[in-house]
Symmetry: C2
Subunit: 475 residues, 2 copies
């Protein structure tokens, strides 16, 4: 039942037939077999090895996507959807070659339902571009992956980020989808009603399936009103454990931060290399609170400060104004790039475990310990309010031994996260890198059910083959 | 592929073999074939006709449920899970007879993860009983169906209620499940991490599947901290449209009511027959706001009042204290029973459509119009913040013509809701009554995918046969 049995890269002879067939569907101008175009769709932002697709196609309509998939399904050709290429676990790398569908020409905001706080978009629209338009309506799509990801990619990977602590991940903010199935059929799931109990939840089955069950061609998203009043807080602590204790207490008080980020000392040191940033060096929490009024916000902040003081906060800076706040989050968003500059020429491995928040201090301590023991250098940062921890481990590209040690950090962290009731991936998805942990996380029965669902919806295994559940086969 | 092909009520001869087999699995004391026990598991709170199961079994462990399903699957016997029997669309009526599994002896709170705001429970625990225990930890499970439903039933039906406007439906508050599949295999889905991106979302596929894809034997739920400060508001308007306009404006201001209910004049009149309730008669909003502090709450309420006044609110009563607030919600929760007393000896039909909130005034106006035109009497109430509208239509039990008119109201309301971008069921589930609308709501492709998923997970069709997608077959 493995997808390996069904699909493979397009051979030279087959390519000669495929190219004109695809050109007939989308016009010749929107199919490319050039090395340059293929190379642009061979890797994401992860450290996974690249792999060239055979062809790149830029569809403009759902009908084209339908026709393309019908053709590919009959010809048993791999099809991988491509958004912005900003994913972090190899999710869109076309490891079996075949066709990459680049959605940048399906990037329209189709309808802003402003009084319903909803928007209907095509998958190629970019997150930040969309939010810029929505800001004119006082609205925004809250899941914030940092990168200017495409909405299609965010839906496929169930992306999340610094706003998830209050607003949930992408999964929690998708109401309805239009999806093209492997056989080319066009399916609509969900509705614009925020409450839905009409049968099986196909919408949420598709969200996070990384393009392996169907390809999203339209999404209706929940939006949130932009908070009129907000304030950032930066608090620095003696230990990361103290910072994590503060996290519980803030959440338990019924306070609702719109962001609650933890950064270790190394991460703060790196952030301080960015222009205009001068933070007290030590384990820190970046927090943001938004409120309907200045008064309620001020009241909230005084409670936050009291909690921070209780846990021996060493530096506390609250009431950060709009400009300083924007600068801070801009720096946080650019943290990945800043880190890459801080370790010039180094290769890296990113990890993405998540645990119940009560276990977060233990996880952070473990990460420190594991990285020290395996002599790995890098950062520890986390979406603390969600219990989501990232480490970035840097090493010389040619140093295979160091690369192997980084891999062992990942293994140990995942093992630890699972033992603590958590997951191998909080927001980056399974892609290529997390498949080896799926059996340990889900057990054979759930994994087998996932495989059965894949076989049901994509019997020929043409959709993003090699991802999510290609390994760990138990039948 | 219809489940009709595979399962049927247990014939006399087969019953003689089945009874001792089930007794061997769960002890003889926990299997019953008495008329009295069967009659107690033949109907829910809906108006759908009752149907007796052949046998009732009270499992005590997951291992027993597994053994029972393995047996039933091999023998092709229908199995329907039973919680509290409080559902409203015929969801647990064993229309093919067979075995009902009553979960009242699997009603333990297994673990309260208080610092994570989570609880792990067995399916038979009752909602209100569980929340009474959780209150000692300052926590509660927010979806509030009114009735003292079982958690298993709430998960199966994706139950919601008056708290959904702020906290979401059951689906939004389930992190992990233990599920016994049709073949007896025990599957674990999800994890205790609030962020999860590790493969297909089996948890949310199971939630709302009404026991047709698997039977839940354990659930880990998200909890919310009990708001320390809250206040109820009652506002009465000249028209239901004005009230609905207020709903948008409250939501759009970033205010976050913990409840936002609309009741028409008839509903208010009925509520006033309850002891201690004296409301101004007219279309009204019942609202509740909870805050982290008294100050922020006061500020919020002043914004609410301003919005209500802008839309010509005729009576406004805010800052309702804890006792009066409890009395109000108690009355709201007992509204269904109060209504039954108000129409003594009458039969009834309940509707449950939901639309995007911008369309809610139109839907309410349509409901009024349709009920007047078809000369149906009853109430119109709604979880307005969710766009969810219920009507209850009363008629003499023997009056088949009136019953048919009530059915036509349901048809028209669903048709209207779908045209407005909504759904045929916001929170009661599909059960028996909503299957006829599934094709119109989802279209043939999605409906066929639902059927394929059912066939994949329950190939013999033993799980709650005749529900959700038994009709509208398109293959």
């Amino acid at each position: 039942m493995s997808s390996r049995l069904h699909v493979r890269s397009i051979s030279g002879e087959k390519l000669e037939a495929t190219l004109p067939a695809l050109q007939a569907i989308v016009t010749p101008a929107r199919v490319s077999a050039t090395q340059a175009d293929r190379a642009l769709h061979a890797r994401d932002q992860s450290s996974h090895p690249d792999h060239l697709p055979d062809l790149v196609v830029w569809p403009q309509t759902t009908a084209e996507v339908s026709a393309l998939l019908r053709y590919a399904n009959e010809a048993r050709l791999p099809v991988t959807a491509w958004g912005a290429g900003s994913s972090l676990e190899g999710n869109p790398i076309p490891v079996y070659g075949g066709i990459v569908l680049n959605f940048q020409q399906m990037n329209q905001i189709l309808k802003i339902h402003d009084t319903d706080f909803q928007v209907t978009v095509q998958p190629g629209v970019l997150y930040k571009d969309m939010n810029q338009v929505l800001a004119q309506y006082g609205l925004f799509f809250a899941p914030d992956p940092g990168a200017n990801a495409s909405i299609g990619g965010m839906v496929a990977n169930n992306a999340a980020g610094i706003r998830t602590v209050k607003y949930g991940a992408t999964r929690d903010n998708v109401l309805a989808l239009e999806v093209v199935l492997a056989n080319g059929e066009i399916m609509r799931t969900g509705s614009r009603s925020v409450k839905q109990s009409a049968g099986y939840d196909l919408t949420h089955l598709l969200v996070g399936s990384e393009g392996t069950l169907g390809i999203v061609t339209e999404a209706t998203l929940k939006l949130a009103p932009l908070p009129e009043h907000f304030s950032a807080v930066i608090a620095t602590f003696a230990t990361v454990e103290a910072a994590a204790e503060v996290v519980f207490n803030i959440m338990g008080a019924g306070l609702e931060p719109t962001a609650l980020e933890l950064l270790n000392t190394t991460a703060i040191t790196i952030l301080n290399t960015a222009e205009g940033i001068e933070l007290a060096v030590g384990p820190s929490l970046f927090m943001e609170f938004g409120g309907a009024s200045e008064v309620s916000l001020t009241e909230e902040l005084s409670m936050v400060e009291a909690i921070c003081r209780d846990y021996g906060c060493q530096h506390y800076r609250a009431g950060v104004g709009r400009e300083a706040r924007n600068q801070l989050w801009h720096a946080r968003h650019r943290f990945f790039e800043t880190t890459l500059r801080y370790y010039p020429g180094q290769a890296y491995l990113l990890t993405d475990v998540a645990v119940p928040i009560s276990q977060f201090p233990i996880l952070v301590a473990s990460a420190n310990e594991i990285m020290t023991e395996l002599e790995c250098k890098g950062t520890i940062i986390g979406h603390a309010g969600d219990g989501n921890l990232h480490t970035a481990i840097f090493f010389p590209p040619a140093d295979n031994e160091a690369r192997a040690r980084a891999g062992r950090v990942n293994d140990h962290l995942v093992e630890r996260a699972l033992a603590l009731g958590g997951t191998c991936t909080g927001e980056h998805g399974v892609g290529l890198g997390k498949q080896k942990y799926m059996l340990a996380e889900h057990g054979p029965v759930a994994l087998n059910v996932m495989r059965q669902l894949k076989a049901t919806l994509d019997p020929n295994g043409i959709l993003n083959p090699g991802k999510v559940i290609a390994l760990n086969v138990e039948r």
